[in-house]
Symmetry: C2
Subunit: 339 residues, 2 copies
């Protein structure tokens, strides 16, 4: 397995983005987020997503020069039009505004309409937590999962993120609504393995842990069956109603690629405006201690709090380099003009 050092990866992606027409400033930010995603183990939306992002720019599905513009302001809420700009810079802007508003009155909610794929949603949860804020955010997507009871895709896989700041490592949940991503199906299939648990339906309509069979039907399983399906619908509706943008069915009709003209919601809350630092630290420490001191299940060495495994991967990848697929790395280097 080839491993690439963080700064080399970031510089290469940055150059690829500059070559695609981005400004220095935007290329720097987007390259950092893609590299950090790979660094934290979210390879599907890090280095591996660079080619598709550049392809979307070429197709005119992303306007690299667009900036979000304020559409409405009401109390602690602000709505922005993402103007089909890069999903990453739009999302960073939006969470930054949310923490800015929350810095005044404890709470801020910023929504984006008409934006594009934000890549790794967890990035914006970590962003809020780094500043000391509780962060909650989600996006809608195009249809890529069947609703519960359906055979054909009709709902989004709408990732949902919750982050709580903590000195020793933030507590961050970053979950999509499907049990497994298409990326996980692909990598599991390529390794010739089965999924840990059933992840979708085969041609006969039976639940299966065979990733290839699910890729064929595109009948990926919502997490918790009907629960993840219903949650996806609610996240979609509320993101559209909070931003005045397109629901999943509208994103489908727009036909501008994955998440083209989607909606996103960013919430920030300052826990120290409501509580003492001591209370906050003890609440989190007590919760983590309770989880970690549980009796371990069969074959389990340690119980992790949400986000802990990302931090472990981060430490490892910063030390050893970030693992890459050689073919993908060669292609990104080509986009950067380095081969």
């Amino acid at each position: 397995m080839t491993r690439i050092e963080f700064n080399e990866m970031k510089a290469t992606i940055r150059q690829a983005f500059l070559n695609a027409g981005m400004t220095e400033e935007k290329a720097e930010v987007c390259a950092r987020i893609h590299t950090e995603s790979s660094r934290d183990g979210v390879y599907s939306h890090g280095l591996n997503r660079v080619e598709r992002f550049v392809d979307y720019i070429g197709k005119g599905w992303i306007d690299v020069h667009a900036e979000p513009t304020l559409g409405a302001k009401l109390g602690a809420m602000e709505i922005y039009n993402g103007n089909m700009g890069p999903g990453i810079t739009n999302a960073i802007f939006a969470m930054n505004r949310a923490t800015g508003i929350a810095g005044e009155n404890g709470f801020g909610l910023v929504s984006l309409n008409n934006t594009t794929h934000w890549m790794r949603g967890g990035a914006y949860g970590w962003q809020a937590a780094e500043k000391g804020f509780i962060g909650i955010c989600w996006t809608n997507t195009e249809s890529c999962m069947p609703a519960w009871g359906a055979k054909s895709v009709g709902i989004g896989n709408n990732p949902f993120i919750m982050a709580v700041p903590r000195k020793e490592g933030h507590v961050v949940l970053d979950m999509a609504m499907s049990q497994y991503s298409y990326g996980k199906l692909q990598t599991t299939r390529l390794k010739g393995q089965k999924l840990p648990f059933a992840g979708g339906f085969d041609q006969e309509g039976n639940l299966t842990d065979n990733p290839g069979a699910i890729e064929e039907t595109r009948r990926i399983l919502p997490m918790g069956y009907w629960k993840g399906s219903g949650f996806a619908v609610m996240l979609d509706l509320i993101s559209a109603l909070l931003s005045g943008g397109l629901t999943t069915s509208g994103v489908d009709q727009a036909g501008l690629g994955s998440c083209g003209s989607c909606c996103q919601v960013f919430i920030a809350i300052d826990p120290l405006k409501l509580n003492s630092r001591e209370f906050v630290e003890q609440a989190i420490a007590g919760t983590i201690q309770q989880i970690k001191s549980s009796q371990l299940a069969e074959g389990v060495d340690e119980i992790y709090y949400p986000g802990e495994q990302s931090l472990k991967t981060r430490t490892e990848n910063m030390e050893l380099g970030i693992p890459v697929d050689d073919g993908i790395w060669a292609n990104v280097k080509k986009l950067a003009g380095l081969s």
Copy 2:
């Protein structure tokens, strides 16, 4: 199966609550919510929960005369101490304040600490939607589920509710973090049936759809495995940090019964302060149409939007009467002094 007419059930529960020392006003509200829960098919937290509620009053774990008191106010957020009052009246008060605040500036967030079991969480989502607001609410609970990787219970089953108002029937998601409730395990076992999907672990640590085996280990499965586990942790932490109250581990230590001195969060948003009525109606209608027009999976007659099946059950139970377990109904009548 015995069916009891709505008004008879409500009057009986009301009398039981009056006999337990509640005021006319509180007994009326609590009896309505318990009866509506059974009416909508949530039997476990409707009639079936009356005896335990009365028992908790007797134990001093609920103060029937307590009212919430304002602890802090910051922008669009208010924090109340529930003073261990009835969970239902506290929660109705809190969602009512949230919609009141949202009526001014579009958004309101009210949290409760030191409150008690709110019974059916969906009630407060429906409450917000009835008034035309998007409602989001959740509660933490005592430990009743193992964290992912654990054998012993360490996290709450923290229900999470999202509601979107709609003229023809609100869209409401009301989900706990476990794949199945203990109530579902019990009723499935009593019918001699298997669960539709694996719902927990047996003594050997294997996933099983045998409800009795799960009741023995108390190793119920979080929905989506690690996802529901992580989501439960985040809901717990954020409810405590937003209200200054106890986390699940603190509720465990308090030892005041199920949800004794728990925390809850109530969010209300006015979608019509941000959008035209036409936009809101079209966004919801388009989404429901897309789901309903999906290709049906094997053996499925119709695809439901979140909340639709509750409405169907409501209509049926209002027409035919609300089904009851004869033993439970006799006990509640006894509490009401009617037998």
